[in-house]
Amino acid sequence: MTLMTGIGAAPAGSARPARKSGRRWLPYLLLLPGTLWLVVFFFGPMLTLGAASLWDPAGSLQTGYAQTLSFGNYVDAVRDAGPQLLRSFWYAAIATLIGVIIGYPLAYAIALKAGRWKYLLLVAVVAPMFTSFLVRTLAWKTILSDNGALVGLLRDIGILGADGRLLATPIAVVLGLTYNFLPFLVLPLYASLERLDRRLLEAAGDLYASPARSFVKITLPLSMPGLVAGTLLFFIPAVGDYINAELLGNPNTYMVGNVIDSAFLVRLDYPHGAALSFALMFLILIIVMVYLFRSGTDEVV
């Protein structure tokens, strides 16, 4: 650069800038399709939704809505859906916890112990996603059904009472969430464990760390980026999910997604549905920020 400015006064300058400016536009040209996509399918709907959340709640689809900047919609929506909101975060948190308990050993085994079975196991983790979310959840409905083998077994060994059931309980919803979002937790975790340099574990062993200490001092901290990314990818869609609560739960297990769903499709109350959507988004955003800050990981995003 300094070299260029040094000879910048030379007459050669005339032809160059034309080519250079052509080059300068290239990155923007490459960004164009993505930007257009974002504008049309993300920012557009977001603006519409944001506007809708401030509409006059007295309007209706038939009579039309007036833009009255009714911030009160947020207060009403959050108050009315309070139990479901709390339940969403609660269920998602428990599911994430179970997900970590199941997913960490799974990712660890695939990354470090599976040998030549590694890729087969990875495919097995991803394979459920080859069918639709809905079909998978419906399959769980069958598995957890009152006269299914699982409930029968649990009744026989006395974990469930004689007329105890799984379907239409919070347990079913949490199990469904865990099952459906587990791959999103396992894959990033696998990726960071796979990158782990095993020679570091040898070095730790050489420096008097037992295998358990090596795990706590080396493996766990070095897999933190994967764990943080995985739990976020699990938790965020789980909070907003309504299919599991709809198909595996009952009205008392409804989550905030079910409320939004019904606001738009059943009650046709667009302002409150939109306000609740936005409120949920902000809440998740705050939780994610706090989480990232607390886990001290800036390498994830």
Binding site: D197, R199, L200, E202, A203, A204, G205, D206, L207, Y208, A209, S210, R213, K217, I218, P221, L222
Partner: protein, 383 residues
């Protein structure tokens, strides 16, 4: 001799990977406090040997003992042995201080801070405590790896090509450093290297390893002056090895006939006195005179033609083709007394028989005059 309670014994140790034998019935005793070098070409089993001492690899057969204590089956973290790894293997998420303190913390030792400070001073890295390994140069990382191992005062410190990743200048500097540190702490160092110069300048004792076996063990000068095998003769420096037949003893000498000439070598410098042998002379032990000129009394000689000469400062290195086609290497010191020889000059190469040596030779093996090439181990590769 000092006390032998801390000697490291490797007894009849064999390591096989599948059908491949990486270490083959190896037996070694490394005295307590020694600076011991394990020298060999890449892939000869040096790292595998070290890993068996460290407990990172289990021998297929044989025993590793420290003094009287059998440590063959102990886990790595149960052995009073520490390693400086070829790749350093510093913990990337810990700073220099915590890397060095790692072993002390695992053993719940007190006064970690003062010990770490002292160790960092020993390796001249004061003031680097808060840096992460990624923020250090190769040489600094190497010092951290050394400090991290040494701070535990192991009975034996294993160093696997610790200087392999450094450039030449830094390597020479670190060789001196390592030697100083070893003298200061008095811990047994087992230093693996493929660099013969490094092994010779640093170690009290060198073991030359080839294809999973020890070819020769001794003080550097001993090995250099009187190699035990053709491999050693050309791995440690360079030798002119002429194929001949030994014809028994005469007086104190072994007689050898080669290429219709007869030579004699003192019996104390002969590994065999019958059958196929190599007659060996180091290039710097050969001297050249013009054809027909007098050869010093008692010297033996071979005639030839100068085919190549390269001036390397301290000496001029000539190649002399003998009547039977072999090219001998001759290093003539640049002492300023002899005029340089022209290419094509007819010369006589002569030597004092007390500088020659006789090695066993496989029947059918021809002359060997070129050094064994030692390629560095790929740094960072799993080895």
């Amino acid at each position: 001799m000092e006390s032998t309670a801390g000697d490291l014994h490797i007894a009849n140790v064999t390591k096989r990977f599948g059908i491949f034998t990486a270490v083959d019935d190896l037996t070694l005793t490394i005295p307590q406090g020694a600076f011991f070098a394990l020298l060999g070409a890449s892939g000869c089993g040096k790292t595998t040997t070290l890993r068996m001492v460290a407990g990172l690899e289990e021998p297929t057969a044989g025993q590793v003992r420290l003094g009287d204590r059998d440590i063959t089956r102990l886990r790595p973290y149960q052995r009073p042995v520490n390693t400086v790894f070829q790749s350093y293997a510093l913990f990337p998420h810990l700073d220099v201080f915590e890397n060095v303190a790692f072993g002390l913390r695992r053993r719940k030792v007190r006064q970690v801070a003062s010990q770490v400070e002292r160790m960092l001073a020993l390796v001249q890295l004061e003031g680097f405590t808060k840096r992460r390994p990624a923020e250090l140069s190769g040489g600094q990382q190497q010092r951290v790896a050394l400090a991290r191992a040494l701070i535990n005062h192991p009975q034996v410190l294993l160093l696997d090509e610790p200087l392999g990743a450094l450039d030449l200048k830094l390597r020479r500097q670190m060789q001196i450093e390592l030697k100083r540190i070893q003298t200061e702490v008095g811990i047994t160092f087992v230093h693996v290297t493929h660099d013969q110069e490094e092994a010779m300048t640093m170690a009290d004792t060198v073991a030359v390893m080839n294809a999973g076996r020890i070819e020769q063990l001794g003080r550097p000068a001993e090995i250099y002056e009187y190699p035990a095998t053709a491999f050693v003769a050309n791995f440690l420096g360079q030798s002119n090895l002429l194929a001949g037949e030994a014809a028994g003893l005469s007086g104190g000498d072994v007689l050898v006939s080669a290429y219709e000439q007869r030579f004699a070598v003192p019996a104390v410098r002969a590994r065999a006195d019958q059958g196929p042998v190599f007659l060996g002379v180091r290039p710097e032990k050969l001297a050249l005179v013009a054809d027909g000129a007098a050869v010093p009394a008692g010297h033996q000689s071979v005639a030839g033609v100068v085919t190549d000469s390269s001036y390397v400062g301290v000496s001029t290195q000539y190649l002399v083709r003998t009547g039977w086609g072999t090219e001998l290497a001759v290093f003539a010191p640049n002492s300023g007394t002899a005029a340089p020889l022209a290419l094509g000059a007819r010369v006589t190469a002569h030597w004092d028989p007390r500088h020659a040596f006789i090695l066993r030779r496989e029947p059918g093996e021809g002359d060997r005059t070129t050094p064994v090439l030692d390629e560095p181990d790929a740094v960072g590769a799993v080895s």
